[in-house]
Amino acid sequence: MSKHMTNILVPLISILLGLIVGAIVMSLSGFSPIDGYIALWNGVFGDSYNLGETIRQITPYIFAGLAVAFAFRTGLFNIGVEGQLIVGWLAAAYVGYAFDLPKIIHIPLALLAAAVAGGLWAFVPGLLKAKLQVHEVIVTIMMNYIALHVVNASIATLSDGAEKTEKIHESASLRSPFLESITDYSRLHWGIIVAIIAVFVMWFLLEKTTRGFELKAVGFNQDASEYAGMNVGKNIILAMVISGIFAGLGGAMEALGTFGNISKLTGFTGIGFDGIAVALLGANQPFGVLLGAILFGSLKNGGLNMPNEAGIPMEIVSIVTALIIFFVASGYIIRVTLERLSKKKKEEK
């Protein structure tokens, strides 16, 4: 079996295994897995409203996946996407309501604010990694919690103690009456276009620019990159910041598209952590991330339909997602099994 083939098979088998174990969990809990998955399917594609909501859910997942994947390509593990996303969300929401500008300036400015906020939040772990060799995983986790508390405190300050900020002005909104009308008044907004542009931007950056080549080189082998005259520290910081920019923009989608403001968060949104699943499944390739985001975004939104239609708690979708991560991460064992199977076949021939 060719290597290319295994690379595609591992994620597919992982998804299948995840769904199978999910089905087992459902039957053990006394539910019908078939009804459950039908409800899931209807929640994703059932009608134009659900389809619109699914695409809306996919939008921030694309950004979160790109953020994780971009860092991974440079050899960095950014678990801080969640925190970068919520500071981006706050920044975009603030610019959205605090300024009065024409639409053509307002939307880019709000996106820029989110990108800067996310980028700055990722700059700290990047700097510490580059200058002091501090492992980025722990720092980014800590930055998540700092973001959560700081954002909540900021919301309280900005709104004079209320639970949420003011709604953004129409001029900063990505919402579209047209998209809403063709999807039976879902919250689908133009953000999906921005997200797809971001996929191409990441691809172009990594595959077509010298900077991208350097970033990837640092990811493969720091010593060799250093020896070849690249500035490893600078590339590490840059990679973290770009990753944070993607994450911050993901937050902007929630601020300018889905919600139009930011409410006090009782916990994490989970989008950042699901981004790890998205990137992993998409093998850290921009277009792979797109597919991963479509899968996990669909699962997430479809899951909302499961309690209504089949009476199954929607957490089953998170169980399936977590299992898929396990299986993809344990790709080694799937590879070994596949190789053994294909060897057996050859011997039989």
Binding site: I138, A153, E315, S318, I319, I325, F326, Y332, I333
Partner: protein, 319 residues
Amino acid sequence: MSFLEVLYFIIPSAIFYAAPLIMTAIGGVFTERSGVVNIGLEGVMIMGAFSSIVFNLTFADSLGAWTPWIALLVAMLTGIVFSLFLAVAAVSFRADQTVAGVALNMLGLAVAVFAVKMLYDKGQTDSISERFSRFDIPGLKSIPILGEMFFTDVYATSILAIMIAFVAWFIIYKTPFGLRLRAVGEHPMAADTMGVNVTKMRYIAVMISGALGGIGGAIYAQAIAGNFSQSTISGQGFIAIAAMIFGKWHPLGAMGAALFFGFAQSLSIVGASIPVIKDVPEVILLILPYVLTILALAGFIGKARAPRASGTPYIKGKR
């Protein structure tokens, strides 16, 4: 309120909040010392909290005052079984340990909330009737000042947590098992050459962390929260990891850091009634543990160094 009264108020409360953190942080010390990063401690705590509350609600009538203690054992077993997911993925299947840990957190929360909705038809359990109770330590409590500060109205779970920290220190630094554990975490190939079974050691370490994390979650649920919902455990697992790092991967250091973070947590909760503290914005106290951990890692508070092999799967024969 006089300064002493403030201390009488805040120190027992700090120890109270620290107990679950100490337990879980010590669990973290064991895994990391063996070379396995356990980001999944949050998920383990969630499973511990969940299983203890369900057990407590179900058996409180028949077991009476012993219920929380037996629930602690149930949580320990749940934690061990649950942590095996990480052990199998990270040790046997050579999965990225951080990724597997993230999956563990996601799985823990999802399974627990799923089961609560299944069992009780709602997202939150009822409050338990049998909680851990406080008691005065006879003799010691009559010591002036210190008696009132440390030995009155204490929770047995707090004493247990502090004892566990000393036991862990003894195991890790004074026994052959501990020496092997540290060897496996620093240089698994050398340990393997000397006949130490790296895989077995890592499995044991992960299971110990599951046991202690489960107990930590159960203490939090049965002493502090009193019920279980999606947000019962929200970040305590990560604060425990922070305490482990702040304590420089040493059991007693981790205990000290956990006590300090417990202090910060209790300040953010009871601080509103204390002069000076009430003028500090709550957000500062909330982010303090995380900021300090970053500073510790950056070397501003003495350099914190992880065990050398931490985070890398051991593959026999690979140099």
